[in-house]
Symmetry: C2
Subunit: 454 residues, 2 copies
């Protein structure tokens, strides 16, 4: 049996013999007694195994090293010790896989940098047991939210010849023999007979599906070849991009708020033990922060109003807030504190936003950023420009290559309608949900400049 | 409201005024009456809108073209006509987005090739409404199956420096300026400071997680730069790769069978209308085929036994069945017909299988292919080699680059245990579930040699 199957019905198994396989996470030996912290990873909480020198296998048990895989047979009993409700009194065991002394994941404090260097082992540590379990649950929360509400899940293509944001630095994908290139490149010889790269967003393709199914979402990897070594940048990350027909800017804010509260509630319910641990070791107050979000009111305010509030604030800004310009990290922080909760900022100056956002009369666009206390911008969305001429003009102003995107423009020609969508960076959400402060520690195998291990 | 919200409670809305937005899919006009086939894509079944010349907007309604987006207000009523239970008697409407006569998706038969050339519009057709809705539901079925059973969902990396199968043709990922290369390539200048490509499998990384969480699965894109133009090859596709610790070959067959039946049952329940349509237009007998699978017994048989059966068969083979060699399509077909159901074939000659499969004493490995009537090989799995020396020796025999995969070998050094897993190609599953016969038609934007549109 797996540990979770036993512990989910622990009351039933008390006093009974059970058999379970897993790993020695820690081991404390006394002369006559031994205590093994044991886990198979099917639940966050570990099980204490106890054994005494009455057992014929006492010596073998006492010799077990950290990291060893074992199968144990024993009696589940209520624990007299503190820290756990149950423990397993070992009757017999089988060594499945030994673990030498050079095992790098010894039970002592390790730096995040060291753990990244053994990323294939770190999921065995408490921190990453919590983080990657929450990652899995958060993914399921997202699928559940959208599927229960009738959205169609779309797998947007990864390899693409179009560049959604018109600005992203893209990875090139090729089968050309690089060693044989000599100054010129004949893309008709490449796999797709043209230059291709890795997508920076599935939004444009999601719009094509929204024009057929009304409510759709993507959940897949996206890529940025940005040469940034910061706590918030990785080259490969996962995005959720819902797109909804017959939905305007207000409608999409309703969905964002409802979805975010749903995800947080889901994690609060299904990962309580993990959150308690992370509250202690990753971010003090994490549980309270998440509980507060679920019951909070999200403010809706325009970019112009935000600038007015910032200008009136009695703060020495590093970056002076200005009408018509973007806001800085310090401004985001101030605004969420000012309203004591999440804030939707709408109607941004069009120059600093993407080409596809619906244009207002006054030079703003119907974009919306969701600013959340403690993390800053979490979701970016907009009502999309539904008018063919306006969109085409904007793309021409920005000198975009329209030939590769005629199909996208055509969505405005063949039965266009008001529609809106947003993008949620999955790793950014996880930083918020786990309290972990480096994006490299919420994704299994982070890809960053100069780093593509495992 | 969306169409599904109304129709889910149609009885409640009969005789009442409702308002709904969507698209004109078909339009039939008579002198005094008009019939619009209407859909917003939130359910497979369309709604018939009727209007007569008593309406002040009769002329405008009669002028509506295929593909136009409209908002209609009307009374829901039980339909006297055949083919539908309900219809909507229009009272008023609003034109949201016109659609010119050059709209390519007119309601008449189109070739699959033509529809692929307008892949951004084809989701609006009945066939692709059915296919992509089933794709979305099948993805959810898979997540539901594994999450309900305590599996942790892992996002395996897409960009990688290791090559799982040791044979796959990989796409290269680079930020080097190809136009400036001159005969030699300095990979220390590339984004990751080494040569990288797009993954062909997430299995090896899934194994690292199985050694921490016991039960894990991936569900993500994988890539093959194979220059094949067939009905079953695309360069970018999605794979599900579960990996389970403390699970042997028999155990993994149990899981495969249980999972497959679960998915099929899920689709039978949630996509009945879609399956009825596909049964008519894609594969005659589809519904019966799927229903039969759910109640069928999966046979378990060794490769050697299969060859014996094939040799005894009164058939003129194109390819003669041979002990120690792979089997052909015709053999797969014969075997599933022979057993009248799905067949697990185990214990393959090691030369034709992957390096990571557990080696038996007799020169076979504990691999297992699941052959399913009507589609052939659907799932490939194996018990993994858990012994460090045996695995290393095999990798050396195959002249694999061990330096990039030391971490994978180390899983056999640090608490190794029996573990197994399998790979399910998601598009292959969809061919089976939908009865569609070309893989290009079960993925939104197929990538094949010379084709990377949208």
């Amino acid at each position: 049996m797996y540990l979770k199957e036993i512990m989910d019905e622990a009351k039933k198994y008390v006093g009974k013999e059970v058999s379970v396989s897993g790993w020695v996470r820690n081991h404390r030996r006394q002369k006559e007694l031994g205590f093994i912290v044991f886990s198979d990873g099917t639940q966050f909480n570990q099980l204490q195994l106890i054994y005494d020198n009455q057992l014929s296998c006492f010596e073998e048990l006492a010799a077990l090293k950290i990291g060893t895989a074992i199968e144990v047979r024993g009696i589940l009993q209520e624990s007299a010790g503190s820290g756990q409700d149950y423990e397993l009194a070992i009757q017999d065991f089988k060594l499945l896989g030994d673990c030498p002394d050079d095992y790098p994941l010894q039970p002592k404090p390790h730096s995040p940098e060291f753990l990244r260097s053994i990323a294939y082992l770190r999921p065995r540590s408490n921190l990453f047991q919590a983080v990657f379990r929450i990652r899995s649950l958060a993914a399921m929360a997202i699928h559940t939210y959208f599927q229960d509400r009738g959205y169609v899940y779309l797998h947007a293509p990864l390899i693409t010849a179009s560049d959604c944001e018109g600005a992203g630095e893209m990875f090139q994908v090729t089968t050309l023999p690089l060693e044989q290139l000599n100054g010129k490149v004949d893309y008709t010889k490449d796999f797709f007979h043209k230059k291709t790269g890795l997508t920076v967003s599935g939004q444009l393709q999601a719009e094509t599906f929204a024009m057929a199914f009304s409510k759709v979402y993507t959940f897949g990897p996206t890529f940025r070849a940005e040469d940034s070594n910061t706590k918030t940048h990785v080259a490969e990350f996962w995005m959720i991009e819902p797109e909804i027909a017959f939905c305007d800017l207000d409608g999409v804010m309703d969905i964002e708020e409802d979805m975010l509260k749903f995800i947080v509630q889901y994690i609060l319910e299904k990962a309580h033990d993990e959150l308690v641990f992370l509250d202690k070791f990753a971010e003090k107050g994490l549980l309270q922060k998440l509980e507060k979000l679920v019951s909070s009111t999200f403010t809706r305010i325009t970019h112009e109003e935000v600038i007015s509030i910032l200008k009136k604030a009695d703060v020495r800004w590093e970056f002076e807030p200005k009408y018509g310009e973007d806001i800085a990290k310090e401004h985001e922080k101030y605004i969420t504190e000012y309203f004591d909760g999440p804030v939707f900022i709408t109607n941004w100056p069009k120059e600093i936003k993407s080409f596809y956002m619906k244009q207002n009369e006054d030079g703003t666009v119907r974009g919306v950023d969701l600013e959340v206390p403690g993390i800053g911008e979490l979701i970016g969305g907009s009502e999309r420009e539904a008018d063919y001429e306006k969109l085409r003009t904007r793309m021409e102003e920005l000198k975009m290559d329209i030939s590769e995107m005629e199909w996208y423009l055509n969505l405005r020609k063949y039965g266009s309608c008001v529609h809106s969508g947003f993008g949620l960076g999955f790793e950014r959400l996880l930083l918020y949900l786990t309290g972990v402060d480096n994006i490299r520690d919420v994704i299994a195998y982070p890809r960053t400049p100069g780093n593509c291990e495992f």
